[in-house]
Symmetry: C2
Subunit: 329 residues, 2 copies
DNA sequence: GACCCTAGCTAAACCGGTTTATCTCCGGCT
DNA sequence: AGCCGGAGATAAACCGGTTTAGCTAGGGTC
């Protein structure tokens, strides 16, 4: 009825608890004959070690953590994270402890708690801030962590990232090659590191580029677009920081009678079903593979590997119907 | 440096471990003065009980589990699950253990393992099959579980569900009221219980309705639509089992020169950004609230409440531009 | 005064593993 | 023969809690 414990195995095999532990974990200290007998008994009884008990004696918790800071309702539209999680899972044999909280303070408290409680072996850090306190916290806690998506190097932490700077440059180059001159950008949250990276890439490749802040929601994308198109000299191309805002922007353009792409070119950051359907030119990256890469990195760090930075492949621009030659003056 | 344990609290407060345990858990056996002193010390030292250790002495694991059976890559497009998870989180103070597997066998094995390992206090069961083995398994394991989205009553399990039958009927009524006669349906996976429910509702309210099987992907939606529109007497309205297939169907119609809604009405099951943007008439339900409700139910069951069935509010039809009067014959 | 009961606390067992100290036995070396 | 070393196993401690058995002091009852 009850699940067998190590004690049951020991009794059935006629050895001590300690010997069973050694045998099951493939460590030296028991003879081959004893080991095989123990393994035999364990498999017959359907033995499963309890992670709980194992974690108690300071071994592995067999789980990694991910905390997302979001207003819960907003989460559902962000396909990005779900793709990422799916990709992470594909490379992990352990479970993922996921929690959504609404503030950065809660996030930090949760990481500390999970680690103190031996609940996780390591964590993913996403949505890196410009001067992120987590970068210092993790090493001081001794909690293995991998920064996901924060470009560049972060203190003592491993990092998996894509080059947002080069990607933004490639987008702008694409638009410039089409003859665009007045290029605008609808940015994401200014507190996030990758927003800053994209900002600086944008600023250095576009002269007099206009940047309007958004927050990844459709409403903010629409508002920003209305603002841009209402200017005295409206831009001939707009680059959005995510798919939802871009789609909303395309809709606003349609409502205002601004033709896409003949009068306005639109490019979205991050491809998705939404972009595919809206036939929007989009910067596409394989988020699933990205998650998988992050998981591999975390597994390595937990295994004791020294933290390294892994650069993901450069996002690729998928040109669809929303970008074309700039209109004649 | 290290997190304080119960032993540290005991030493600092000058009492025994046992007394501390009693004091912290609000149980009788200690005087009020001792209790307050212990609580004081604990808060000063920043004490956090280790769930791991607590779970070991057969108490709570402070986590619930959710296993999704999917080809990992397909997951990212299913906003539904992410919404659901976000909603669940909003009503749970404990963490969610999430794992994506690729077969039903793995799913079952995982539930058993998690329970055996004291990793979870309860689990959510989604994507209920027609004769789902999990319905019998959970009570036999003694693992608290809540069926999410499987209409009706399931053995000894609690269930949170929306009435797919009535919802389908309301969709068909809407189309009939618009004069539609040849109504088709692009269904989801036939093995799922809700597909069967919708099938039977559809069959009983539509005479000679055509049903084509799909698998929730854009490709299958496009294929099914092409098949339907290629018939000798093509339908004047199509109901799709999810948003992705509906959008793909709308696109196929556009490619074939079939005007929506004047020649063909389209209704999607499950609203999303995709439908909003595509201006598709959709059956909308508050998936976030649904997840929250499911979480409340699970928390109750874990707390020892006898399992009850909770019916969610009926999904509401949001009429947009994709459905209109049937074309004249 | 003898007896019992209870509140308040402690010591110790227990949960299911890992790890360390210890013990025994056997073979090889000088 | 005497000594050493290592392999193979065990008992026991430990992780951080919960829980139970037992002890003590004080008050009430007859």
């Amino acid at each position: 009825m009850k699940r067998p414990t190590i004690k049951d195995i020991a009794a059935a095999a006629g050895v001590s608890k300690g010997a069973v532990s050694l045998a099951l974990n493939g460590r030296s200290g028991v003879s081959e004959s004893t080991r095989s007998r123990v393994l035999e008994v364990a498999s017959v009884l359907g033995y499963r070690p309890s992670v709980t008990a194992r974690a108690l004696s300071s071994a592995s918790a067999d789980a990694v953590g991910l905390v997302l800071v979001r207003p819960p309702r907003a989460l559902g539209d962000e396909a990005f994270f779900f793709q990422l999680i799916a990709g992470m899972q594909s490379e992990m044999s352990c479970a993922l402890l996921l929690q959504v909280v609404s503030s950065r303070e809660e996030e930090i408290a949760l990481y500390q708690r999970w680690w103190a409680e031996h609940r996780v072996d390591g964590v993913f850090l996403v949505d890196l801030l410009v001067a992120d306190p987590r970068v210092e916290l993790m090493p001081s806690l001794g909690l293995p962590a991998v920064v996901v998506g924060g470009a560049g190097h972060h203190g003592a932490l491993a990092s998996v990232w894509a080059d947002d700077y080069a990607a933004m440059t490639s987008v702008v180059e694409h638009l410039k090659a089409l003859g665009h001159w007045r290029i605008a950008r609808v940015a994401g949250l200014a507190s996030l590191l990758h927003t800053v990276r994209r900002d600086s890439a944008f600023a250095s490749s576009v002269v007099d580029g206009v940047v309007v802040a958004g927050d990844y929601t459709a409403e903010s994308g629409a508002r920003a677009t209305r603002e841009l198109l209402g200017m005295a000299e409206p831009p001939t191309a707009i680059v959005y920081d995510n798919d939802v805002m871009a789609v909303a922007g395309a809709e606003v353009a349609a409502d205002l009678g601004v033709a896409v792409p003949s009068e306005l070119s639109i490019v979205a950051w991050d491809d998705s079903v939404l972009c595919q359907h809206g036939r929007l030119t989009a910067l596409s990256r394989d988020t699933f593979a990205f998650g998988a890469r992050a998981a591999r990195a975390l597994v390595a760090v937990i295994g004791g590997a020294s933290p390294t930075d892994v650069e993901d492949v450069l996002p690729e621009l998928v040109v669809r119907g929303s970008s074309g030659p700039a209109p004649a003056e």
